[in-house]
Symmetry: C2
Subunit: 112 residues, 2 copies
C-alpha cells in the first residue's frame, strides 16, 4: 500500500482497534496488521505519535502498567473517542463512496 494513502484515516483505524477493549500500542499495531491481512502494517514511529495525538485530543486515555518487566501504556476509548469513531465511520463511507464514484470503479468489493 502506498505510504501516503493513509493520511487522515489513521486515527479512525486506531480508534476502531481499541473498540474491542483496551490495548497497548504494540498490540494495536499487531491487531491492525492481522485484521487487514498485512495490508496495514504500521511502523512504530507512526503508531506512538498518533496515540499521543489521540490522547491529547481526549479521544483515548492511557495508563501505565508493568508486564514482565516491560512498561506498557494501555489505552482505552473515551466517550469522546467513541463519538469520534462513529464520525470517522460515517466520513469514511462518504469519502470511499465519492472516490469510488469518481474513479469509476465498481463499489467495493469488485467481484465482477
Amino acid at each position: 500500500m502506498r505510504a501516503e494513502a493513509l493520511k487522515g484515516h489513521l486515527d479512525g483505524l486506531l480508534l476502531a482497534t481499541l473498540e474491542g477493549g483496551p490495548q497497548h500500542g504494540y498490540a494495536i499495531k499487531e491487531a491492525l496488521r492481522e485484521s487487514t491481512e498485512g495490508h496495514i502494517d504500521l511502523p512504530t514511529g507512526t503508531v506512538y505519535p498518533a496515540l499521543h495525538r489521540l490522547e491529547r485530543a481526549g479521544l483515548i486515555s492511557g495508563s501505565w502498567s508493568v508486564v514482565g518487566g516491560r512498561r506498557r501504556r494501555t489505552y482505552e476509548l473515551t466517550a469522546e473517542g467513541r463519538k469520534a469513531l462513529s464520525d470517522e465511520r460515517d466520513s469514511w463511507q462518504e469519502f470511499a463512496g465519492a472516490v469510488t464514484a469518481a474513479l469509476g470503479t465498481r463499489p467495493w468489493p469488485a467481484t465482477s
Copy 2:
C-alpha cells in the same frame, strides 16, 4: 468531507476525470464536483498545482488554447497516465478494502 482525507488519492481522481477525454483545469474541477454530487469540491489552489505535478511526472500533457478571449490549458492523459490510473484503481481497491475491514464497517455501500 474532511480536508486532509484526500491525501494521496487526488492524482487518481484527476486522472480518472481526464479518462473521458481532454479537459482544462476548471472543467476538471467541475466535473469532479458533479460526478461526486458535491462531495469532492476542490479549491483551485489544489487543482492547478496538482495538474502541474502530474504534467511534470509525465502522466498528462497540456497545451494552451484561447477560448472566448480566455486562455486555457487543456490536458490529456499520456500512455503513462493511463497506466498510472490503472495502478491507482488497484491500489484504491486494496486500500479501501483494508480500511473498511479495519474499521469494521460493512463493505461499501452499506445499505443495511
